[in-house]
């Protein structure tokens, strides 16, 4: 992230230290993770201790300190989804990607995440692939979707 880009974000939030959470969210949205250098810069410019920023970055689930993959696959593990088989979907994806939730595949293509309820409970179990919500999922169905996606992007 360039200095100018960061300045834009800080200005958007009035350079207020109380808005540090929103600032980090904007950085995460822009860079797909929170780069260390950027966090150090935020600390300097906002006069907020780096320790506070680092605690925020590791406490809240939406942040990642390592770059996320090209595709984000999120399995909802809310209660309704769990009762309808989310655990088995997660196991299938863990096996397929060979990563644990929160991790990214070696080829940097996929990051697997879990989320504790997206509020789409009537269509449990939910899997979100790159901001597209897919309801009534099964492990096998998610794999088909992903393979379809891969084929599509390979074509283009």
């Amino acid at each position: 992230m360039t200095s100018a880009q960061l300045e834009k974000i800080l200005t958007r939030h009035d350079h207020q230290s109380a808005n540090v959470l929103a600032i980090l969210q904007d950085i995460q949205a822009s860079e797909n993770y929170l780069p260390r250098k950027t966090l150090e810069e935020v600390s300097k410019r906002l006069q907020v201790p780096l320790t506070q920023i680092y605690h925020l970055a590791t406490f809240y689930r939406t942040f990642s300190l390592t770059p996320r993959g090209r595709h984000l696959v999120t399995v909802c593990t809310g209660t309704a989804c769990h009762v309808k088989g989310a655990a088995s979907i997660l196991n299938t994806l863990e096996r397929e990607f060979e990563v644990a939730p929160g991790e990214t595949t070696d080829d940097k293509e996929y990051t697997l995440e879990t989320v504790n309820c997206l509020g789409s409970c009537a269509l449990a179990p939910l899997v979100v692939i790159d901001n597209h919500y897919h309801g009534r999922m099964l492990g096998s169905r998610v794999l088909s979707l992903l393979r379809g996606e891969k084929d599509a992007s390979e074509k283009s």
């Binding site: 260390r36 201790p49 780096l50 320790t51 506070q52 920023i53 680092y54 605690h55 590791t58 406490f59």
Partner: protein, 246 residues
């Protein structure tokens, strides 16, 4: 000079009094009541993490269990420090803490005093004796002002660490070593280097201009000079030589 407001209340039936605004735990300790505590230290603000200092407080007809380290005293409250419930809670908390700091003498002694000799829980080896009391972080932030370490993550993955595990802000003053209740932060000196082992911080110490002995980390001295706006040569001499000079 302003009049300090005095409040009067009871602890285990004993009539006591204290200044309004004081916390219950230090008042009780002063009166000789033995309330176990691990995350409380008079040098820093109370936090209420360990939960050992729980007592039962009756106020306005209601009785509830509360931590005493951060409970402001008030007129007419009745405090009970060793009820059945309090002891029951202490036992489980100590059993949980033993699983994080099985080698801590202080935790063992406290556990022993309530009849807990061992823990049924899996020892968390990665904890390395840390009970997440936060005293190190509070002393570093509130007293020293170096802001070198912080709580990281949340829930059962919580731990204490420097940001990015890179202790760049640590001045190796040893305040955290001093204040840690389980002795899990160690300081070592070898040759002209000082290391705060837990944070993996090694700093070169400055030799005294007079006697030549390395006496404090250079980084620390420069930091103090900068923070307090002292003359650059303020720490030329070690404390011993400085005294002799006077």
């Amino acid at each position: 000079m302003s009049e300090k407001e005095i409040v009067r209340f009871q602890i285990d039936g004993l009539k006591v009094e204290a200044e309004k605004g004081q916390m219950l735990l230090p008042v009780a300790l002063e009166y000789g009541f033995e309330i176990p505590h691990l995350c409380y230290h008079e040098a820093v603000s109370p936090y209420g993490a360990c939960r050992l200092c729980l007592v039962e407080v009756t106020s306005g007809g209601r009785t509830r269990m509360t931590t005493s380290c951060n409970y402001p005293v008030d007129d007419g409250i009745e405090v009970a420090t060793s009820t059945e419930n309090v002891l029951r809670a202490r036992r489980m908390i100590l059993e949980l803490l033993l699983a994080r700091a099985p080698h801590s003498e202080r935790v063992r002694a406290m556990a022993h005093s309530v009849g807990v000799e061992e823990t049924r829980f899996r020892i968390i080896e990665e904890a390395d004796g840390c009970i997440l009391c936060g005293l190190c972080e509070r002393v570093c932030r509130e007293v020293v002002g170096a802001n070198a370490i912080t709580f990281v993550n949340r829930g059962d993955r919580r731990e204490m660490a420097p940001p990015f595990w890179d202790p760049l802000a640590c001045i190796a003053c040893g305040a955290c070593v001093y204040v840690c209740p389980t002795d899990c932060i160690k300081m070592e000196e070898q040759g002209d280097e000082r290391t705060i082992v837990r944070w993996k911080r090694t700093l070169k110490m400055q030799p005294c201009k007079s006697c030549g002995k390395p006496f404090a980390p250079q980084f620390q001295l420069n930091w103090i000079i900068d923070q307090a706006q002292l003359p650059k040569d303020f720490y030329e001499l070690c404390p011993v030589c400085r005294k002799q000079k006077k």
